[in-house]
């Protein structure tokens, strides 16, 4: 009886939890930029998935001229920053100050996403690409098989989350951003360059999306519609975790992907999406602000 339980844990439950953990980190990486843009700018970025895809495509292009993966981890987010900055100043800023901010920015970013998806198809063609996995091989974790790149993803993802939290909560820059998010007029009168802070925060979120694109491309391949992959899940995580909360994204991201992973052991995996979105609906009804409050409003 006891050995059966241990075997069940080792061969069925533990691998599933571990696999869910990798998915969780993937979702968190995509949702992180989304929640920062929402929490700080109050903009629902519908094109976030396409920026995630853009990161992957830039990595693909740079890798084809011989740049190593580890350099791309640094380079792609750096390339994405000016892109995000220009998008914010050139597009979002123009409709940001109207009374219908949520509707106009949502429609604007939605349209931008559609344009980007078609642009990927025109430039890179409709067929999928598969970057080489940068680390091959695997290890045994408590008797559970885990490819090394997935282990790297878990550890790297954790490092990214910690770094982002440190920047937002422990630096002067982060304090300015949080102040601007809480009360932009007060922050402006205290000398915070609000315009640049907004554009910078958007660029930061976009850079995170790009980083997620680089890190996940070896696992999930690169193709024009890849932006749709994680975006629904990422939005759900942002809503359940509390819009704009970094801790919320981590907790909700891990929680929801574990629910998916473990529930798919017992019921058809087709039900995992309805379960997760059901949780989101209940959350919106019971606690619309999410598990944690909004960033800057703690």
């Amino acid at each position: 009886m006891m050995t059966a339980a241990i075997e069940y844990f080792q061969f069925v439950l533990a691998p599933q939890i571990l696999i869910g953990l990798v998915l969780g980190v993937a979702v968190i990486l995509v949702a992180l930029g989304l929640t920062i843009i929402f929490g700080l700018l109050d903009v629902i970025n519908m094109s976030h998935g396409e920026f995630y895809a853009l990161g992957a495509f830039i990595a693909l292009a740079l890798a084809s001229i011989g740049l190593p993966f580890w350099l791309l981890l640094l380079l792609v987010p750096l390339v994405m920053i000016p892109v995000g900055y220009i998008v914010e100043r050139g597009l979002i800023q123009r409709v940001f100050h109207s009374g219908e901010r949520h509707v106009t920015t949502l429609l604007l970013t939605f349209g931008l996403g559609l344009v980007m998806e078609d642009a990927f198809r025109l430039v890179f063609g409709p067929n999928p690409h598969k970057p080489e996995t940068p680390i091959s091989g695997a290890i045994d974790v408590l008797g559970v098989f885990l490819p090394l790149y997935r282990l790297f993803l878990i550890l790297g993802g954790a490092a990214v989350v910690i770094l982002v939290a440190l920047v937002v909560y422990r630096t002067r820059l982060g304090a300015m951003v949080r102040a601007a998010a809480f009360d932009r007029n007060m922050a402006a009168s205290l000398g915070v360059p609000v315009q640049h802070v907004y554009a910078g925060a958007f660029a930061f979120g976009i850079a995170l999306a790009g980083l997620a694109g680089v890190m996940l491309a070896p696992l999930y391949s690169v193709f024009p519609t890849m932006g749709r992959d994680f975006i629904l899940m990422a939005f759900t995580v942002v809503i359940v975790g509390g819009m704009g909360s970094i801790a919320g994204v981590v907790v909700a991201g891990l929680l929801l992907t574990q629910v998916q992973a473990i529930s798919s052991l017992y019921i058809s995996p087709v039900w995992s999406d309805p379960i997760v979105f059901g949780i989101m609906v209940i959350m919106l009804m019971v606690r619309p602000q999410g598990l944690f409050g909004r960033l800057g409003h703690g």
């Binding site: 599933q16 869910g20 998915l23 067929n127 999928p128 490819p147 087709v270």
Partner: protein
């Protein structure tokens, strides 16, 4: 005098003032996905049809009439396909229609054709029901259906991996469930043992969550009918988890294609499938076709291009046999029609309008498909399940 009348006739026909007489073109409507997920398939359909039409027209057309193709984008969406087919029948007055890719589109457009009193043929759709329980007197299929592909693969399996334990993984929708069911029954008939099945949602990101089930079933053979980018993910993730060692992966003919093979890379090595066509078929007819196709489009034809090419010749043969483009006469001429295609002679079975043809078993070796076996058309076709006519 004769010189002048010839000139006049040429001018009249060129400006379409000539009215309905012999030199009027035969119009074929093509409703095929030119954008969206299946654009790559639609492209092959278009290239195949255009090449055959060019050849037929250069050789004098069908009964002296030139053939004219009119394309409409169906976006692989049955609702759009129905509108576009309606337009082609009612406005463009096409004589015949083809091109549908999505099995749902073929079934829906078949109903449009019945109402319009016209004939259609699919050169791509796999679903058995099109020439099975949902057959229509106005619908023909010149490509091999899922059942034919499964039987060919099962025959290979019984020789190469006799009495193997087989695990099944399909995408969770009509196509996935029907392909798995078809192969399962074909494989069990030849002595294979089924050890489990799982259906993953379409566009699954991560197949690793099913690997536990796959591992514990200890299969020697995995059958899968995922397609497109789903195949890229499934295969590369299996490679990542070391599952491809000591496992033979077989699948539907749409699982690994020229479109996703480069992305799958080494993980596709050894993949085996049953198909109705391969560019590798070593016959003079096929070599000639491949060379012409490559010269025109700079790429090898795949099964969709080849079957679409063959359709124009089937229609030509039927119209010439019927000496008319009238629906009833052409339908009769199609019954048990034998005609030549790049992959050899095909026969359109009168009982269900399904083409009977030699089936091939191909395996990926060194990043390319090569033929490892073939099964006679009559052994792969299966019984007639059409009860409507």
């Amino acid at each position: 005098m004769t010189y002048r009348t010839t000139i006049m006739a040429a001018l009249l026909s060129a400006t379409a003032l000539g009215g309905a007489y012999a030199a009027d073109p035969i119009k074929i409507g093509v409703v095929t996905p030119l954008s969206g997920t299946y654009a790559g398939i639609g492209q092959q359909v278009r290239w195949g049809l255009e090449l055959a039409t060019k050849e037929v027209n250069a050789a004098g057309g069908i009964m002296g009439r030139q053939v004219e193709l009119t394309f409409e984008d169906e976006e692989a969406n049955p609702a759009v396909a129905v509108q576009k087919a309606d337009k082609l029948f009612q406005v463009n007055k096409v004589d015949f229609l083809t091109g549908t890719v999505n099995s749902g589109s073929t079934l829906a457009v078949g109903q449009v054709a019945e109402r319009a009193g016209k004939l259609i043929a699919t050169t791509v759709s796999f679903a058995d029901s099109i020439t099975g329980d949902k057959c229509s007197p106005n619908v023909f299929r010149v490509n091999a259906r899922a059942g034919q592909q499964s039987s060919a693969l099962a025959v290979w399996l019984s020789k190469d991996k006799p009495k193997a334990n087989v695990f099944y993984l399909g995408p969770d929708y009509e196509m996935g469930r029907s392909t798995v069911a078809a192969f399962k029954s074909a494989a069990e008939k030849v002595g294979a043992k089924s050890t489990g099945e799982v259906f993953a949602p379409l566009d699954s990101k991560d197949y690793t969550q099913y690997f536990g089930q796959l591992r514990s079933a200890k299969p020697q053979v995995l059958y899968t009918s995922v397609a497109g980018n789903d195949t890229v993910r499934l295969f590369t993730q299996m490679q990542e988890f070391g599952l491809l060692n000591n496992l033979t992966v077989v699948g539907a003919s749409g699982t690994v294609t020229a479109q996703n093979l480069p992305a799958i890379g080494k993980a596709a090595e050894g993949f085996v499938t049953g198909v109705g066509y391969s560019a590798e078929i070593d016959t003079p007819e096929n070599k000639k076709f491949v060379a012409a196709f490559k010269a025109a489009n700079k790429i090898d034809p795949d099964l969709y291009g080849a079957d679409s090419y063959g359709l124009i010749y089937a229609y030509k043969a039927a119209v010439e046999k019927a000496k008319s483009t009238e629906t009833d006469k052409v339908r009769k001429a199609f019954d048990d029609l034998k005609w030549m295609t790049p992959q050899g002679e095909k026969t359109l079975r009168a009982a269900d309008h399904q083409a009977v043809q030699t089936m091939y078993v191909v395996r990926v070796t060194g990043g390319k498909f090569s033929i490892v076996g073939q099964v006679a058309g009559t052994d792969a076709i299966g019984p007639d399940a059409c009860t409507r006519f």
